[in-house]
């Protein structure tokens, strides 16, 4: 597909973030990303897929470029808010009976691994206000306290250009 991420692990070359995450969870069982309980696992799979198959595909740069070029630059905000809004509304309902400190309990699981980057360091590109989603807002505050999530932010990567720090990249408004 020509997309990131792609993982190289010995002889294994694997793309697609959900495939990579499931592979890592299979092969490296420390800090399991899925609960033992089948119902909670199913909720994780479902919530993760709302993000990876319903929200994220519509936000990709080529899609937004298409919207800009074929409809107009201002349409991108409408498009993005529509798709994120629908997904977030569904997530609020889906995880509300399962959430603890994090989305499906008190440990970071699969859905948190997808949800945190969808919120932290991303929503400001689209001027999207998460305060309309009380549970996701609460989770967002929890995520900001997690060192592993902060370490995964773009500006904390070793190859992030220093001169771009503090600038909202790929902004569409």
């Amino acid at each position: 597909m020509g997309f990131v991420p792609t993982l190289l692990d010995g002889d294994m070359v694997l793309a697609e973030s959900s495939a990579i995450i499931l592979y890592l969870d299979d092969k490296y069982p420390q800090h399991p990303l899925l609960p033992h309980d089948l119902k909670k696992r199913a909720i994780n799979y479902q919530a993760a897929n709302i993000i990876s198959s319903t929200i994220q595909p519509t936000l990709r740069i080529p899609i937004l470029a298409y919207i800009r070029d074929n409809i107009g630059p201002d349409e991108r905000i409408t498009w993005v808010h529509k798709h994120i809004g629908k997904g977030f509304a569904a997530l609020e309902i889906l995880v509300k009976d399962h959430a603890g400190k994090y989305a499906t309990g008190d440990d970071i699981c699969l859905v948190d691994v997808l949800l945190a980057p969808q919120i932290i360091g991303t929503l400001e590109r689209y001027n999207f206000d998460i305060s309309n989603y009380p549970l996701l807002s609460r989770l967002s505050e929890s995520y900001k306290q997690v060192p592993a999530i902060r370490n995964a932010l773009p500006e904390n990567q070793p190859d992030f250009p220093k001169e771009l720090k503090g600038i909202i990249l790929i902004r569409i408004y």
């Binding site: 597909m1 495939a19 089948l38 799979y45 897929n49 319903t54 074929n70």
Partner: protein, 225 residues
């Protein structure tokens, strides 16, 4: 009558590739279920079960799961007969990757609701090129990915998760969107094998028996003035 309550319920649509994946899995695993066909957008009964309002959605006792990826992994974990994932971690991961290419990069961008929406935003003539473009990109990736893994089926000689995704995406691509498959000889070969496979023929037959308005899924006839 009340004894039937123990059977699973699947909210489904005959033309939905996501629903068909799950129906094939249920068939392969020999699981009985009540099929509830949802034909209208925003069906209130479906919204109670799946807040996204999409099919498929599965009710298994007190467990409710929506989204075909989640349903398939749930079924695989709870009903291990006729495994949908190989034991080998590399082949298993290739199945995840192929499924993800379809479920994240192809299907969401060619689903009927979005394609019609593009038709409203841009032009009715844009619907088919939009869908074909996104399917084609995904198929380019799948053709390369599976080259080193395919046997009779996508990742070997058994039907696995990847095949559940490919069968119905290929069916959409070829029959609904008339995609030129010349550059995808492996995928075309797989589709021909799928069409000869009894379990898959069963699912195709079930869909074609349903009375539905197929005009929503016709993207290749000229629009009426």
């Amino acid at each position: 009558m009340e004894e039937e309550n123990q059977a699973m319920k699947l909210y489904s649509h005959p033309m939905s590739s996501c629903s068909r994946r799950v129906r094939l899995a249920l068939y392969l695993k020999g699981l009985k279920y009540e099929c509830i066909n949802i034909t209208g957008v925003g069906d209130p009964e479906l919204l109670k079960v799946n807040p996204m309002g999409y099919v498929p959605a599965l009710v298994d006792g007190t467990t409710v799961v929506s989204d075909s990826y989640a349903i398939l992994l749930y079924l695989e974990e709870k009903y291990p007969q006729h495994a949908l994932l190989p034991q080998d971690i590399i082949k298993k991961s290739i199945n995840y990757q192929a499924a993800s290419i379809v479920s994240s990069s192809i299907q969401p961008l060619q689903n009927t609701t979005l394609v019609h929406y593009i038709g409203e935003l841009v032009s009715p003539d844009e619907k088919l090129p939009w869908a074909q473009n996104h399917i084609r990109k995904g198929f380019v990736a799948l053709e390369k990915l599976l080259a080193n893994h395919a046997g009779k089926y996508a990742t070997g000689d058994e039907i696995y998760l990847a095949d559940l995704y490919l069968t119905f995406q290929l069916d959409n691509a070829i029959n609904r969107f008339k995609l030129d498959m010349t550059e995808f000889p492996l995928l075309l070969k797989l589709y021909k094998v799928y069409c000869q496979t009894p379990s898959i023929q069963q699912i195709f037959a079930e869909s074609s028996q349903q009375q539905i308005d197929k005009s929503l899924f016709n993207f290749t006839k000229p629009q009426e003035a």
